[in-house]
């Protein structure tokens, strides 16, 4: 379980000392707005609810059995030109193909992997997947463009997807979307000049009991109000671990990243800093 990341990224925590350029820190957990409505379960931490410690660190090669097809989202940031299906991902692709009686069945999982690594599915990714599965590139294009989640172009580091469908709409979905757009001063679907944010409106995210639901990369932020927006954005930009202070649980244990996977510092560790693992 110690596969090297294709891009040599460090998951989680502070950037390496002395690093220059845009920081590659992933999203970190905690308030504001992750799922503020915990109702009668206020003793639970965010990690408890998301199941971070249970999930642990999903291996890049997919792990065992039918788990191989889930996305790792280990990578802190997408590289639009990253190599596809190399290293542990190559092995994973083989394992995925083996789960289906017809190679074609592996199409969505492989496209998911390509999206995971590159942040979007472009013509060369489609052609590559087509080649691996023995399908025509046009066919793969037809399938890839059918599904909303395959971005056709690279998006910002944080893809902010605001649900404005009816249950969230009743509770201010349009206003939250407006708040993001205004705060980031950007049009829907357009990436901010610094490359950090793309905001878009999406359909029901399946978190209707916690309106307004916003999905940022792989992570759900729930019970978001327009007032929460500046803090959410600031938290993403800073990459600070504000979970301890804001959610009151004081644990910060296994606080998840919006990259989805918990930090490499290990499941359930109480320390927030992963520097020893780097």
């Amino acid at each position: 379980m110690s596969a090297e990341l294709p891009t040599g990224e460090v998951i989680g925590g502070a950037p390496a000392a002395g690093a220059t350029g845009p920081t590659r820190t992933p999203l970190v957990g905690g308030n504001p707005g992750w799922a503020g409505e915990r109702g009668d379960f206020s003793h639970l931490s965010e990690a408890d609810i998301r199941g971070d410690s249970y999930v642990g660190r999903r291996p890049l090669d997919g792990g065992v059995g039918g788990a191989v097809c889930s996305m790792p989202y280990q990578l802190a940031a997408k590289e639009p030109d990253a190599p596809l299906f190399e290293g542990p991902y190559a092995e994973r692709a083989e394992k995925i193909i083996a789960r289906y009686p017809d190679k074609r069945g592996a199409l969505l999982p492989l496209l998911n992997l390509a999206e995971e690594v590159r942040g979007y599915v472009g013509p060369d990714a489609m052609a590559r997947v087509a080649e691996i599965l023995g399908l025509s590139p046009a066919y793969v294009r037809g399938v890839a463009t059918f599904y909303t989640m395959y971005n056709r172009q690279p998006v910002g580091r944080y893809l902010v997807q605001v649900c404005t469908n009816v249950a969230c709409n009743l509770c201010g979905g349009d206003e939250v979307l407006q708040a993001f757009l205004e705060h980031l001063d950007v049009e829907p679907g357009v990436t901010t000049p610094d490359g950090n944010f793309t905001v878009m409106e999406v359909e029901c995210l399946g978190a209707c009991g916690f309106p307004v639901a916003v999905q940022i990369n792989s992570r759900y932020f729930e019970n978001v109000t327009p007032e929460d927006v500046p803090a959410i954005v600031a938290g993403l930009v800073a990459g600070e671990d504000s979970s301890d202070a804001a959610d009151g649980s004081g644990a910060g244990a296994g606080a998840s990243t919006a990259g989805g996977a918990p930090r490499r510092a290990g499941a359930g560790s109480s320390s927030g800093a992963p520097a020893d693992e780097a």
């Binding site: 409505e37 999903r58 074609r104 989640m149 995210l205 009991g209």
Partner: protein, 433 residues
């Protein structure tokens, strides 16, 4: 207890362990009685399992309400090759958020139910299709599948019985239509997620051309309990035609939104006003959509009903996924219906012309009406179009688009007329006043 609020009246069967982080682990689940039902089911034998589920009266919880035991009995008795059980966790219906809780709190409950179902119908492989946006709960399921494999509960020689059942997690990529059973099969097969013409039916030719059964997450989560405690016990809850419990996912303008598990037939008024704390801000109820955006809207005066399949049909709507969306009197029906119709237009797969063109056109008309540029002739057009979009397509997405339009035109015409005659939303104007 459901999530995130618990109510003492609830019947905790599926949602017992919501809020209990240990319950999602294999050890934790076993400690709580997990996987005994699987063992028992294998000892009972396939036919006995199917009979038990039939006798329990369990109905599909994905919206259609088709009796699960009967569905399982459609699978061929003679096995001529591979066959599959597909778990529909594509939960994309606006208003539905129960399956997400089930898979992130009790993934092993689902896996156990799926294994029992697969065993009963002689399926070799369970594919759990989780919508792509559910990345986080999917990771939980992935880990649970891994635990199952590592502990002899899935894969080869389950529990030493010589039975082989594989379990694979398959993630979707953002398409509501993939929640339709044949579209899900197409999506699983690596195709565009477009529904198929039936016949052939899935039990004859489904995923990869093989006999297939598809069940919803909530349906399968009930199965271990039915096996453990028996059909008669299950029938002790709910009504005669709608036995068992249901997770009611309540959203919208109530004080305490969330999932609540009650026996079917639970009164809607009690759910809204007692369990959920009533309408927020002390407002009045205007409308309720009892089963997710695809079912007709009920006006407030039609809401004093019991929430079971038959009663909701009698009231002119459908229970569907029991996704209760509550709207108070500050809600503009035109705006909400417009948003719903835009959803259907966005999600239409595009195969059938009435849906592909009709949903988009209805969306355009609704936008015009909302912007104050509509006429009464538009209302007649909407009724006409909705009629043409109902019953003429391969799947019922266009029917689902027509349902809120027709029901809102019938029951909330004043909202429309306000936009038409005054060029502005009557509700918004009233709210300001």
């Amino acid at each position: 207890m459901a999530y995130p609020f618990r109510h003492e009246k609830e019947t905790r069967i599926l949602s017992e362990y919501f809020g209990d982080p240990e319950a999602r682990t294999l050890d934790g689940w076993k400690k709580r009685g997990g996987y005994q039902a699987l063992r028992k089911a294998i000892e009972m034998g396939r036919d006995a399992v199917i009979e038990e589920v039939k006798a329990s009266g369990l109905r599909g919880r994905g919206g259609a309400g088709f009796p699960t035991g009967v569905k399982w009995s459609f699978m061929p008795k003679e096995k001529t090759g591979p066959s599959y059980l597909l778990v529909n966790s594509d939960e994309s219906e606006p208003g539905a958020f129960k399956d997400r809780e089930l898979i992130r709190w009790t993934p092993h409950q689902l896996i156990e139910g799926a294994l029992i179902g697969a065993y009963a119908i002689q399926a070799d492989h369970v594919y759990i299709y989780v919508r792509g946006e559910f990345f986080e709960p999917a990771q939980v399921v992935a880990r649970a599948i891994e635990e199952a494999y590592q502990n002899g509960l899935a894969g080869k020689n389950i529990l030493g019985t010589g039975i082989d059942i594989d379990v694979t997690l398959h993630l979707g990529a953002g398409a509501y239509i993939c929640g339709e059973e044949t579209a899900l099969m197409n999506s699983l097969e690596g195709r565009r997620g477009q529904p198929r013409v039936k016949p052939p039916f899935p039990a004859v030719s489904g995923a990869f051309g093989r006999p297939t059964t598809i069940n919803n997450v909530e349906t399968l989560c009930a199965v271990p309990h039915i096996i453990n405690k028996g059909a008669a016990w299950y029938r002790g809850f709910g009504t005669e035609k709608s036995p068992g419990t249901k997770l009611f996912n309540v959203s919208g303008h109530v004080v305490r939104r969330g999932n609540y598990e009650f026996p079917l037939g639970f009164p809607m008024h009690e759910l809204l006003y007692d369990v959920c704390g009533g309408i927020r801000d002390g407002r009045k109820l205007k409308a309720v959509i009892p089963g997710g955006s695809s079912v007709p809207i009920l006006a407030a005066e039609e809401c004093d009903i019991n929430l079971d399949y038959e009663s909701v049909i009698a009231a002119g709507s459908m229970l569907g996924t029991a996704s209760v969306i509550v709207m108070d009197d500050r809600t503009c029906m035109v705006k909400q219906v417009r948003r719903m119709v835009e959803f259907y237009a966005h999600e239409s797969c595009g195969q059938c012309t009435p849906c592909r063109e009709g949903t988009a056109w209805v969306a355009k008309i609704m936008r015009r009406i909302e912007a104050g540029l509509g006429t009464e002739a538009d209302l007649e057009k909407l009724v006409d179009l909705s009629t043409n979009m109902t019953g003429t397509t391969i799947c019922v997405l266009s029917d689902s688009c027509a349902a809120p339009v027709m029901s809102s035109l019938k029951k909330f015409k004043d909202d429309y007329l306000g936009h038409i005659h005054h060029g502005a939303c009557p509700v918004a104007a009233a709210a300001v006043a």
